[in-house]
Protein backbone atom coordinates (compact mmCIF):
# COMPACT_ATOMS: atom_id res chain seq x y z
CA UNK A 1 0.00 0.00 0.00
CA UNK A 2 1.24 3.45 -0.89
CA UNK A 3 -0.08 6.30 1.20
CA UNK A 4 0.53 9.73 -0.21
CA UNK A 5 -0.20 12.25 2.51
CA UNK A 6 -0.62 15.94 1.69
CA UNK A 7 2.44 15.85 -0.52
CA UNK A 8 3.63 19.19 -1.91
CA UNK A 9 6.52 20.11 -4.17
CA UNK A 10 7.43 23.66 -5.02
CA UNK A 11 10.38 25.14 -6.86
CA UNK A 12 10.96 28.70 -5.64
CA UNK A 13 7.49 30.21 -5.92
CA UNK A 14 6.01 27.68 -8.32
CA UNK A 15 3.94 24.92 -6.78
CA UNK A 16 4.23 21.84 -8.96
CA UNK A 17 2.35 19.38 -6.77
CA UNK A 18 -0.14 20.89 -4.35
CA UNK A 19 -1.27 18.96 -1.26
CA UNK A 20 -2.03 15.70 -3.00
CA UNK A 21 -3.42 12.96 -0.80
CA UNK A 22 -4.28 9.51 -2.06
CA UNK A 23 -3.95 5.89 -1.06
CA UNK A 24 -3.03 3.22 -3.57
CA UNK A 25 -4.23 -0.25 -2.61
CA UNK A 26 -1.82 -3.18 -2.80
CA UNK A 27 -1.86 -5.18 -6.05
CA UNK A 28 -3.82 -2.51 -7.88
CA UNK A 29 -3.04 -0.37 -10.88
CA UNK A 30 -3.29 3.35 -10.33
CA UNK A 31 -3.17 5.50 -13.46
CA UNK A 32 -2.23 9.14 -12.97
CA UNK A 33 -3.60 11.22 -15.81
CA UNK A 34 -3.03 14.85 -16.68
CA UNK A 35 -1.80 17.21 -19.32
CA UNK A 36 1.88 18.11 -19.46
CA UNK A 37 2.79 20.37 -16.56
CA UNK A 38 0.04 18.91 -14.38
CA UNK A 39 2.59 17.60 -11.87
CA UNK A 40 1.84 13.93 -12.55
CA UNK A 41 5.45 12.97 -13.25
CA UNK A 42 6.69 14.91 -10.23
CA UNK A 43 4.15 13.07 -8.08
CA UNK A 44 5.42 9.73 -9.39
CA UNK A 45 9.05 10.69 -8.87
CA UNK A 46 8.40 11.63 -5.27
CA UNK A 47 7.37 8.05 -4.53
CA UNK A 48 10.90 6.75 -5.17
CA UNK A 49 12.43 10.02 -4.02
CA UNK A 50 13.90 11.06 -7.35
CA UNK A 51 12.25 14.29 -6.29
CA UNK A 52 12.24 15.19 -2.61
CA UNK A 53 8.89 16.58 -1.44
CA UNK A 54 8.76 20.09 -0.01
CA UNK A 55 6.22 18.96 2.58
CA UNK A 56 3.98 16.02 3.31
CA UNK A 57 4.90 12.37 3.56
CA UNK A 58 4.77 9.17 1.56
CA UNK A 59 4.45 5.84 3.33
CA UNK A 60 4.92 2.44 1.75
CA UNK A 61 3.29 -0.32 3.78
CA UNK A 62 3.19 2.11 6.68
CA UNK A 63 6.90 2.94 6.52
CA UNK A 64 7.87 6.54 5.79
CA UNK A 65 10.04 6.56 2.66
CA UNK A 66 12.41 9.02 4.30
CA UNK A 67 13.48 6.35 6.79
CA UNK A 68 15.64 4.53 4.23
CA UNK A 69 18.44 5.79 1.99
CA UNK A 70 17.03 7.00 -1.32
CA UNK A 71 19.11 4.52 -3.31
CA UNK A 72 18.03 1.59 -1.13
CA UNK A 73 14.41 2.63 -1.50
CA UNK A 74 14.76 2.78 -5.28
CA UNK A 75 16.21 -0.73 -5.47
CA UNK A 76 12.99 -2.01 -3.93
CA UNK A 77 10.77 -0.11 -6.37
CA UNK A 78 10.68 -0.90 -10.08
CA UNK A 79 10.98 2.12 -12.33
CA UNK A 80 10.26 2.17 -16.07
CA UNK A 81 10.28 5.32 -18.15
CA UNK A 82 9.40 6.53 -21.60
CA UNK A 83 12.22 5.87 -24.05
CA UNK A 84 13.22 2.91 -21.78
CA UNK A 85 16.52 4.48 -20.55
CA UNK A 86 18.48 1.29 -21.15
CA UNK A 87 22.23 1.57 -20.61
CA UNK A 88 23.57 1.63 -24.19
CA UNK A 89 26.96 0.12 -23.30
CA UNK A 90 25.53 -2.89 -21.51
CA UNK A 91 23.96 -5.96 -23.03
CA UNK A 92 20.28 -6.78 -22.61
CA UNK A 93 21.17 -9.36 -19.98
CA UNK A 94 23.37 -6.93 -18.04
CA UNK A 95 20.68 -4.27 -18.22
CA UNK A 96 18.07 -6.57 -16.74
CA UNK A 97 20.52 -7.79 -14.09
CA UNK A 98 21.23 -4.24 -12.89
CA UNK A 99 19.18 -4.23 -9.69
CA UNK A 100 19.84 -7.86 -8.68
CA UNK A 101 23.54 -7.05 -9.02
CA UNK A 102 23.16 -3.91 -6.90
CA UNK A 103 21.41 -6.02 -4.29
CA UNK A 104 24.26 -8.54 -4.34
CA UNK A 105 22.36 -11.56 -5.67
CA UNK A 106 24.68 -14.43 -6.55
CA UNK A 107 25.49 -15.07 -10.21
CA UNK A 108 23.36 -18.17 -10.79
CA UNK A 109 20.28 -16.66 -9.21
CA UNK A 110 20.67 -13.47 -11.26
CA UNK A 111 21.20 -15.39 -14.47
CA UNK A 112 18.18 -17.58 -13.84
CA UNK A 113 16.07 -14.49 -13.16
CA UNK A 114 17.25 -12.81 -16.38
CA UNK A 115 16.36 -15.94 -18.35
CA UNK A 116 12.96 -16.09 -16.68
CA UNK A 117 12.19 -12.44 -17.50
CA UNK A 118 13.38 -12.67 -21.10
CA UNK A 119 11.07 -15.65 -21.59
CA UNK A 120 8.22 -13.84 -19.86
CA UNK A 121 8.59 -10.96 -22.32
CA UNK A 122 8.88 -13.33 -25.28
CA UNK A 123 12.52 -12.57 -26.01
CA UNK A 124 14.52 -15.72 -26.68
CA UNK A 125 17.36 -15.66 -24.09
CA UNK A 126 19.83 -17.36 -26.42
CA UNK A 127 19.23 -14.70 -29.02
CA UNK A 128 18.78 -11.56 -26.94
CA UNK A 129 20.83 -11.89 -23.74
CA UNK A 130 24.10 -10.66 -25.24
CA UNK A 131 22.77 -8.08 -27.66
CA UNK A 132 23.21 -4.36 -27.12
CA UNK A 133 20.02 -2.31 -26.68
CA UNK A 134 20.51 -0.46 -29.96
CA UNK A 135 20.25 -3.75 -31.85
CA UNK A 136 16.64 -4.14 -30.67
CA UNK A 137 13.42 -2.72 -32.07
CA UNK A 138 11.53 -0.04 -30.13
CA UNK A 139 9.01 -2.55 -28.80
CA UNK A 140 11.76 -4.94 -27.68
CA UNK A 141 13.68 -2.14 -25.97
CA UNK A 142 10.55 -1.14 -24.09
CA UNK A 143 10.02 -4.72 -22.93
CA UNK A 144 13.61 -4.95 -21.73
CA UNK A 145 13.06 -1.66 -19.88
CA UNK A 146 10.08 -3.14 -18.02
CA UNK A 147 11.95 -6.42 -17.47
CA UNK A 148 14.78 -4.46 -15.85
CA UNK A 149 12.28 -2.69 -13.61
CA UNK A 150 10.83 -6.03 -12.50
CA UNK A 151 14.14 -7.88 -12.12
CA UNK A 152 14.41 -7.81 -8.34
CA UNK A 153 10.74 -8.75 -7.89
CA UNK A 154 9.62 -5.38 -6.53
CA UNK A 155 6.17 -5.07 -4.96
CA UNK A 156 5.78 -1.69 -6.55
CA UNK A 157 6.35 -0.66 -10.14
CA UNK A 158 6.41 3.00 -11.16
CA UNK A 159 5.93 3.73 -14.83
CA UNK A 160 6.28 7.10 -16.51
CA UNK A 161 4.59 7.06 -19.93
CA UNK A 162 6.14 3.64 -20.55
CA UNK A 163 4.29 3.13 -23.83
CA UNK A 164 4.52 6.71 -25.09
CA UNK A 165 7.13 6.00 -27.75
CA UNK A 166 5.45 2.91 -29.20
CA UNK A 167 3.23 2.70 -32.24
CA UNK A 168 -0.46 1.86 -31.57
CA UNK A 169 -0.29 -1.83 -32.46
CA UNK A 170 2.76 -2.57 -30.30
CA UNK A 171 1.36 -0.34 -27.56
CA UNK A 172 -1.84 -2.31 -27.10
CA UNK A 173 0.16 -5.55 -27.05
CA UNK A 174 2.49 -4.08 -24.42
CA UNK A 175 -0.50 -2.97 -22.35
CA UNK A 176 -2.00 -6.46 -22.45
CA UNK A 177 1.32 -8.00 -21.45
CA UNK A 178 1.64 -5.57 -18.57
CA UNK A 179 -1.82 -6.45 -17.23
CA UNK A 180 -1.05 -10.17 -17.50
CA UNK A 181 2.18 -9.74 -15.59
CA UNK A 182 0.54 -7.48 -13.03
CA UNK A 183 -2.10 -10.12 -12.27
CA UNK A 184 0.49 -12.88 -12.14
CA UNK A 185 2.82 -11.14 -9.69
CA UNK A 186 0.21 -8.95 -7.96
CA UNK A 187 2.47 -5.96 -8.37
CA UNK A 188 1.20 -2.55 -7.34
CA UNK A 189 1.60 -0.31 -10.37
CA UNK A 190 1.54 3.47 -10.48
CA UNK A 191 1.45 4.56 -14.09
CA UNK A 192 1.66 8.10 -15.40
CA UNK A 193 0.04 8.85 -18.74
CA UNK A 194 -1.50 11.73 -20.66
CA UNK A 195 -3.79 9.31 -22.45
CA UNK A 196 -7.20 8.88 -20.77
CA UNK A 197 -7.89 5.88 -22.98
CA UNK A 198 -4.78 4.14 -21.62
CA UNK A 199 -5.70 5.11 -18.05
CA UNK A 200 -9.21 3.68 -18.40
CA UNK A 201 -7.86 0.54 -19.98
CA UNK A 202 -5.15 -0.15 -17.42
CA UNK A 203 -6.21 1.55 -14.21
CA UNK A 204 -8.18 0.03 -11.33
CA UNK A 205 -8.23 3.58 -10.06
CA UNK A 206 -7.55 6.79 -11.93
CA UNK A 207 -6.07 9.94 -10.42
CA UNK A 208 -6.70 13.02 -12.53
CA UNK A 209 -4.30 15.91 -11.97
CA UNK A 210 -4.27 19.47 -13.20
CA UNK A 211 -1.96 22.32 -12.23
CA UNK A 212 -0.53 20.32 -9.35
CA UNK A 213 -3.89 19.49 -7.80
CA UNK A 214 -5.62 16.14 -7.59
CA UNK A 215 -9.04 16.71 -9.18
CA UNK A 216 -10.49 13.25 -8.81
CA UNK A 217 -9.36 9.86 -7.61
CA UNK A 218 -11.84 7.16 -8.45
CA UNK A 219 -12.56 4.02 -10.44
CA UNK A 220 -12.78 4.37 -14.23
CA UNK A 221 -16.57 3.85 -14.06
CA UNK A 222 -16.98 6.74 -11.65
CA UNK A 223 -14.59 8.98 -13.55
CA UNK A 224 -16.59 8.43 -16.75
CA UNK A 225 -20.09 8.63 -15.27
CA UNK A 226 -19.47 11.25 -12.59
CA UNK A 227 -16.54 13.47 -13.58
CA UNK A 228 -15.73 15.73 -10.63
CA UNK A 229 -14.92 18.84 -12.65
CA UNK A 230 -15.49 20.08 -16.21
CA UNK A 231 -11.77 19.47 -16.82
CA UNK A 232 -12.10 15.77 -16.03
CA UNK A 233 -15.11 15.58 -18.34
CA UNK A 234 -13.10 17.29 -21.04
CA UNK A 235 -10.27 14.79 -20.65
CA UNK A 236 -12.70 11.93 -21.20
CA UNK A 237 -14.50 13.65 -24.06
CA UNK A 238 -18.33 13.73 -23.78
CA UNK A 239 -18.83 12.09 -27.17
CA UNK A 240 -16.66 9.18 -26.07
CA UNK A 241 -18.25 8.46 -22.72
CA UNK A 242 -20.64 5.64 -23.70
CA UNK A 243 -17.92 3.81 -25.59
CA UNK A 244 -15.43 4.18 -22.77
CA UNK A 245 -17.97 2.76 -20.33
CA UNK A 246 -18.57 -0.15 -22.66
CA UNK A 247 -14.85 -0.75 -23.00
CA UNK A 248 -14.58 -1.38 -19.25
CA UNK A 249 -16.71 -4.51 -19.17
CA UNK A 250 -16.20 -7.87 -20.82
CA UNK A 251 -18.80 -9.78 -22.76
CA UNK A 252 -18.65 -12.68 -20.32
CA UNK A 253 -20.70 -10.95 -17.62
CA UNK A 254 -23.62 -10.21 -19.90
CA UNK A 255 -24.19 -13.44 -21.78
CA UNK A 256 -27.83 -14.45 -22.15
CA UNK A 257 -29.00 -17.93 -22.98
CA UNK A 258 -29.90 -18.59 -26.57
CA UNK A 259 -28.13 -18.13 -29.86
CA UNK A 260 -27.91 -15.74 -32.77
CA UNK A 261 -26.94 -15.66 -36.40
CA UNK A 262 -23.45 -15.13 -37.80
CA UNK A 263 -19.89 -15.23 -36.51
CA UNK A 264 -19.53 -15.46 -32.72
CA UNK A 265 -17.57 -13.07 -30.50
CA UNK A 266 -15.17 -14.33 -27.85
CA UNK A 267 -16.21 -14.17 -24.22
CA UNK A 268 -13.10 -12.13 -23.32
CA UNK A 269 -13.92 -9.30 -25.75
CA UNK A 270 -15.04 -5.97 -24.33
CA UNK A 271 -18.61 -4.74 -24.69
CA UNK A 272 -17.24 -2.04 -26.92
CA UNK A 273 -15.86 -4.62 -29.33
CA UNK A 274 -19.21 -6.41 -29.27
CA UNK A 275 -21.08 -3.15 -29.90
CA UNK A 276 -18.83 -2.29 -32.81
CA UNK A 277 -19.35 -5.75 -34.30
CA UNK A 278 -23.14 -5.47 -33.93
CA UNK A 279 -23.22 -2.10 -35.67
CA UNK A 280 -20.85 -3.18 -38.39
CA UNK A 281 -22.64 -6.40 -39.25
CA UNK A 282 -26.13 -4.90 -38.80
CA UNK A 283 -27.26 -7.61 -36.38
CA UNK A 284 -29.37 -7.25 -33.23
CA UNK A 285 -27.58 -10.02 -31.35
CA UNK A 286 -24.24 -11.83 -31.44
CA UNK A 287 -23.48 -15.42 -30.49
CA UNK A 288 -20.87 -15.58 -27.72
CA UNK A 289 -18.23 -18.27 -27.79
CA UNK A 290 -15.84 -19.66 -25.25
CA UNK A 291 -12.93 -21.73 -26.53
CA UNK A 292 -14.72 -22.13 -29.87
CA UNK A 293 -18.04 -23.29 -28.33
CA UNK A 294 -21.09 -21.05 -28.58
CA UNK A 295 -22.40 -20.58 -25.04
CA UNK A 296 -25.06 -17.88 -25.50
CA UNK A 297 -25.73 -14.50 -27.04
CA UNK A 298 -25.38 -10.82 -26.34
CA UNK A 299 -27.96 -8.31 -27.60
CA UNK A 300 -27.86 -4.71 -28.76
CA UNK A 301 -30.58 -3.73 -26.26
CA UNK A 302 -28.56 -5.02 -23.38
CA UNK A 303 -25.44 -3.23 -24.53
CA UNK A 304 -27.32 0.06 -24.85
CA UNK A 305 -28.41 -0.12 -21.25
CA UNK A 306 -24.80 -0.53 -20.13
CA UNK A 307 -23.60 2.44 -22.17
CA UNK A 308 -24.96 4.93 -19.65
CA UNK A 309 -24.22 5.55 -15.97
CA UNK A 310 -25.94 3.01 -13.76
Amino acid sequence: MIEIDAITKSYDQTVVVDHVTLTIEPSSVCAVVGTSGSGKTTLLRMINRLVEPTSGAIRIDGEDTRNTHAYELRRKIGYAIQGHGLFPHRSVGQNIATVPKLLGWDKDKTRARVTELLELFQLDPAQFRDRLPRELSGGQQQRVGVARALAAKPNILLMDEPFGALDPVIRSKAQEDLLTIQRQFETTIVLVTHDMEEAIHLGDKIAVMDEGKLLQFASPQQIISKPATPFVAELIGTGERPFKLLSLARVGKFVEPGSAEGDPIDISATLRDAYAELLWSGRAALPVSEKGQVIGKITLDQLSSHARPQ
Partner: protein, 250 residues
Protein backbone atom coordinates in the same frame (compact mmCIF):
# COMPACT_ATOMS: atom_id res chain seq x y z
CA UNK B 1 43.41 -4.89 -44.91
CA UNK B 2 42.43 -1.34 -45.85
CA UNK B 3 44.92 0.79 -47.83
CA UNK B 4 44.91 3.42 -45.04
CA UNK B 5 46.23 0.91 -42.55
CA UNK B 6 48.92 -0.31 -44.97
CA UNK B 7 50.16 3.27 -45.52
CA UNK B 8 50.35 3.80 -41.76
CA UNK B 9 52.16 0.52 -41.18
CA UNK B 10 54.69 1.45 -43.85
CA UNK B 11 55.16 4.91 -42.29
CA UNK B 12 55.73 3.27 -38.91
CA UNK B 13 58.23 0.79 -40.34
CA UNK B 14 60.18 3.55 -42.11
CA UNK B 15 60.19 5.68 -38.96
CA UNK B 16 61.45 2.76 -36.87
CA UNK B 17 64.18 1.95 -39.38
CA UNK B 18 65.29 5.55 -39.46
CA UNK B 19 65.48 5.77 -35.67
CA UNK B 20 67.47 2.53 -35.34
CA UNK B 21 69.73 2.91 -38.36
CA UNK B 22 69.65 6.54 -39.49
CA UNK B 23 72.79 6.11 -41.62
CA UNK B 24 70.76 4.12 -44.14
CA UNK B 25 69.03 7.38 -45.05
CA UNK B 26 72.23 9.35 -45.55
CA UNK B 27 71.98 9.45 -49.36
CA UNK B 28 68.50 11.02 -49.11
CA UNK B 29 69.30 13.67 -46.52
CA UNK B 30 72.70 14.25 -48.15
CA UNK B 31 70.91 15.96 -51.03
CA UNK B 32 69.84 18.72 -48.65
CA UNK B 33 73.24 19.55 -47.21
CA UNK B 34 75.76 22.09 -48.41
CA UNK B 35 79.50 22.42 -48.00
CA UNK B 36 80.05 18.94 -46.61
CA UNK B 37 77.72 19.38 -43.60
CA UNK B 38 76.78 16.11 -41.87
CA UNK B 39 73.54 14.68 -43.34
CA UNK B 40 72.43 12.79 -40.24
CA UNK B 41 72.15 14.34 -36.76
CA UNK B 42 75.41 13.54 -35.03
CA UNK B 43 75.16 15.10 -31.58
CA UNK B 44 73.28 12.26 -29.94
CA UNK B 45 71.10 9.25 -30.67
CA UNK B 46 67.89 10.06 -32.54
CA UNK B 47 66.24 7.05 -30.89
CA UNK B 48 67.09 8.32 -27.40
CA UNK B 49 65.81 11.78 -28.23
CA UNK B 50 62.58 10.36 -29.63
CA UNK B 51 61.99 8.15 -26.60
CA UNK B 52 62.69 11.04 -24.28
CA UNK B 53 60.39 13.29 -26.31
CA UNK B 54 57.59 10.74 -26.08
CA UNK B 55 58.20 10.20 -22.37
CA UNK B 56 57.85 13.92 -21.66
CA UNK B 57 54.69 14.15 -23.77
CA UNK B 58 53.08 11.11 -22.16
CA UNK B 59 54.00 12.16 -18.64
CA UNK B 60 52.54 15.63 -19.20
CA UNK B 61 49.41 14.33 -20.93
CA UNK B 62 48.89 11.68 -18.26
CA UNK B 63 49.06 14.29 -15.51
CA UNK B 64 46.82 16.65 -17.48
CA UNK B 65 44.29 13.85 -18.02
CA UNK B 66 44.28 12.96 -14.35
CA UNK B 67 43.73 16.53 -13.22
CA UNK B 68 41.36 17.60 -16.01
CA UNK B 69 39.11 14.54 -15.67
CA UNK B 70 38.99 14.82 -11.88
CA UNK B 71 38.19 18.50 -12.16
CA UNK B 72 35.44 17.87 -14.71
CA UNK B 73 33.93 15.15 -12.50
CA UNK B 74 34.07 17.50 -9.53
CA UNK B 75 32.30 20.39 -11.23
CA UNK B 76 29.56 18.17 -12.67
CA UNK B 77 28.59 16.88 -9.20
CA UNK B 78 25.85 18.81 -7.38
CA UNK B 79 28.29 20.14 -4.77
CA UNK B 80 30.80 21.31 -7.37
CA UNK B 81 28.56 23.17 -9.79
CA UNK B 82 29.53 26.51 -8.29
CA UNK B 83 33.13 25.93 -9.36
CA UNK B 84 32.27 25.28 -12.98
CA UNK B 85 32.87 28.85 -14.25
CA UNK B 86 36.07 29.17 -12.20
CA UNK B 87 37.55 25.89 -13.42
CA UNK B 88 36.58 26.76 -16.98
CA UNK B 89 38.44 30.04 -16.88
CA UNK B 90 41.46 28.39 -15.23
CA UNK B 91 41.68 25.83 -18.01
CA UNK B 92 41.18 28.59 -20.55
CA UNK B 93 44.06 30.59 -19.12
CA UNK B 94 46.25 27.50 -19.40
CA UNK B 95 45.38 27.34 -23.08
CA UNK B 96 45.77 31.03 -23.95
CA UNK B 97 49.15 31.38 -22.26
CA UNK B 98 51.74 30.73 -25.00
CA UNK B 99 53.88 27.72 -24.08
CA UNK B 100 57.03 29.77 -24.71
CA UNK B 101 55.90 32.24 -22.06
CA UNK B 102 55.23 29.42 -19.61
CA UNK B 103 58.72 28.08 -20.29
CA UNK B 104 60.26 31.49 -19.75
CA UNK B 105 58.38 31.97 -16.50
CA UNK B 106 59.05 28.46 -15.24
CA UNK B 107 62.80 28.46 -15.77
CA UNK B 108 63.64 30.88 -12.92
CA UNK B 109 61.59 28.72 -10.56
CA UNK B 110 62.36 25.22 -11.79
CA UNK B 111 65.72 25.74 -13.49
CA UNK B 112 66.71 24.52 -16.96
CA UNK B 113 65.88 21.02 -18.16
CA UNK B 114 62.82 18.86 -18.42
CA UNK B 115 60.77 20.30 -15.53
CA UNK B 116 59.66 23.62 -17.13
CA UNK B 117 58.70 21.77 -20.34
CA UNK B 118 56.59 19.31 -18.37
CA UNK B 119 54.81 22.19 -16.65
CA UNK B 120 54.14 23.99 -19.93
CA UNK B 121 52.82 20.87 -21.66
CA UNK B 122 50.72 19.97 -18.64
CA UNK B 123 49.06 23.39 -18.52
CA UNK B 124 48.60 23.44 -22.25
CA UNK B 125 47.03 20.00 -22.28
CA UNK B 126 44.42 20.63 -19.59
CA UNK B 127 41.80 22.51 -21.58
CA UNK B 128 40.92 20.08 -24.39
CA UNK B 129 40.64 17.19 -21.95
CA UNK B 130 38.66 19.21 -19.44
CA UNK B 131 36.22 20.56 -22.02
CA UNK B 132 35.69 17.16 -23.60
CA UNK B 133 35.16 15.40 -20.29
CA UNK B 134 32.65 18.07 -19.41
CA UNK B 135 30.84 17.57 -22.71
CA UNK B 136 30.88 13.81 -22.28
CA UNK B 137 29.50 13.90 -18.74
CA UNK B 138 26.89 16.61 -19.33
CA UNK B 139 25.56 15.35 -22.65
CA UNK B 140 24.61 11.87 -21.52
CA UNK B 141 21.18 10.88 -22.80
CA UNK B 142 18.72 12.19 -20.19
CA UNK B 143 16.81 8.93 -19.90
CA UNK B 144 20.01 6.99 -19.17
CA UNK B 145 20.99 9.28 -16.29
CA UNK B 146 17.42 9.13 -15.01
CA UNK B 147 17.32 5.34 -15.22
CA UNK B 148 20.68 5.01 -13.45
CA UNK B 149 19.25 6.99 -10.55
CA UNK B 150 15.92 5.23 -10.72
CA UNK B 151 17.35 1.72 -10.35
CA UNK B 152 19.06 2.79 -7.15
CA UNK B 153 22.70 3.33 -8.04
CA UNK B 154 24.72 5.42 -5.62
CA UNK B 155 26.49 8.45 -7.05
CA UNK B 156 29.77 6.56 -7.27
CA UNK B 157 28.13 3.64 -9.08
CA UNK B 158 26.51 6.04 -11.53
CA UNK B 159 29.84 7.77 -12.15
CA UNK B 160 32.00 4.69 -12.63
CA UNK B 161 29.51 2.28 -14.19
CA UNK B 162 27.45 4.58 -16.37
CA UNK B 163 28.72 8.13 -16.81
CA UNK B 164 32.46 7.59 -17.30
CA UNK B 165 32.15 4.51 -19.55
CA UNK B 166 29.70 6.37 -21.77
CA UNK B 167 31.78 9.56 -21.77
CA UNK B 168 35.02 7.66 -22.40
CA UNK B 169 35.14 8.05 -26.20
CA UNK B 170 34.61 11.81 -25.90
CA UNK B 171 37.20 12.08 -23.13
CA UNK B 172 39.61 10.15 -25.28
CA UNK B 173 39.07 12.61 -28.13
CA UNK B 174 40.27 15.33 -25.75
CA UNK B 175 43.31 13.27 -24.77
CA UNK B 176 44.08 12.80 -28.45
CA UNK B 177 43.99 16.54 -29.16
CA UNK B 178 46.11 17.21 -26.11
CA UNK B 179 48.70 14.58 -27.00
CA UNK B 180 49.14 15.88 -30.52
CA UNK B 181 49.43 19.50 -29.38
CA UNK B 182 52.01 18.42 -26.80
CA UNK B 183 54.00 16.40 -29.32
CA UNK B 184 54.51 19.53 -31.39
CA UNK B 185 54.92 21.89 -28.46
CA UNK B 186 57.53 19.69 -26.75
CA UNK B 187 60.05 20.63 -29.47
CA UNK B 188 60.35 24.15 -28.05
CA UNK B 189 61.26 22.57 -24.72
CA UNK B 190 64.75 22.18 -26.17
CA UNK B 191 65.21 25.96 -25.88
CA UNK B 192 65.40 25.44 -22.12
CA UNK B 193 67.53 22.31 -22.42
CA UNK B 194 64.90 19.60 -22.27
CA UNK B 195 66.07 16.60 -24.26
CA UNK B 196 63.47 16.45 -27.02
CA UNK B 197 63.49 16.27 -30.82
CA UNK B 198 63.57 20.07 -30.75
CA UNK B 199 67.34 19.69 -30.29
CA UNK B 200 67.65 18.33 -33.81
CA UNK B 201 65.61 21.15 -35.29
CA UNK B 202 67.45 23.83 -33.31
CA UNK B 203 70.81 22.35 -34.24
CA UNK B 204 69.76 22.50 -37.86
CA UNK B 205 68.54 26.06 -37.60
CA UNK B 206 71.68 27.37 -35.90
CA UNK B 207 74.02 25.65 -38.33
CA UNK B 208 71.82 26.35 -41.35
CA UNK B 209 71.51 22.59 -41.97
CA UNK B 210 68.22 21.84 -43.73
CA UNK B 211 68.71 18.08 -43.36
CA UNK B 212 68.66 18.33 -39.53
CA UNK B 213 65.57 20.54 -39.52
CA UNK B 214 63.78 18.15 -41.82
CA UNK B 215 64.76 15.08 -39.76
CA UNK B 216 63.47 16.55 -36.53
CA UNK B 217 60.34 17.86 -38.15
CA UNK B 218 59.55 14.62 -39.97
CA UNK B 219 59.96 12.43 -36.90
CA UNK B 220 57.64 14.66 -34.86
CA UNK B 221 55.17 14.89 -37.74
CA UNK B 222 54.98 11.16 -38.42
CA UNK B 223 54.73 10.40 -34.69
CA UNK B 224 51.86 12.88 -34.38
CA UNK B 225 49.94 11.43 -37.32
CA UNK B 226 50.39 7.84 -36.12
CA UNK B 227 49.40 8.56 -32.53
CA UNK B 228 46.45 10.68 -33.64
CA UNK B 229 45.18 7.94 -35.91
CA UNK B 230 45.58 5.12 -33.39
CA UNK B 231 43.73 7.07 -30.72
CA UNK B 232 40.99 7.97 -33.20
CA UNK B 233 40.63 4.30 -34.11
CA UNK B 234 40.43 3.41 -30.42
CA UNK B 235 37.64 5.99 -30.01
CA UNK B 236 35.67 4.57 -32.91
CA UNK B 237 36.00 1.11 -31.44
CA UNK B 238 34.83 2.33 -28.04
CA UNK B 239 31.94 4.23 -29.60
CA UNK B 240 30.75 1.13 -31.36
CA UNK B 241 31.26 -1.04 -28.31
CA UNK B 242 29.33 1.32 -26.03
CA UNK B 243 26.50 1.44 -28.52
CA UNK B 244 26.74 5.13 -29.30
CA UNK B 245 27.75 5.13 -32.92
CA UNK B 246 25.84 8.37 -33.38
CA UNK B 247 27.41 10.38 -30.59
CA UNK B 248 29.94 12.57 -32.35
CA UNK B 249 33.29 13.23 -30.74
CA UNK B 250 33.70 16.90 -29.92
Amino acid sequence: MRPGIIVRLIAFAVLLTFLIAPDLFEPFFGMLTKNGQPAIYNQGSLLDLTLNHLAIVFAATFAATLIAVSLAILVTRPFGVEFLPLSRSLANIGQTFPPVAVLALAVPVLGFGTAPTLVALFLYGLLPIFENTLTGLVNLPGTVAEAAKGVGMTWAQRLFKIELPLALPVILAGVRLSTVISLATATIGSTVAARTLGEVIIAGLTSNNTAFVLQGGLIVGVLAVLIYDSLAALERWLMARTGQAKRAAA
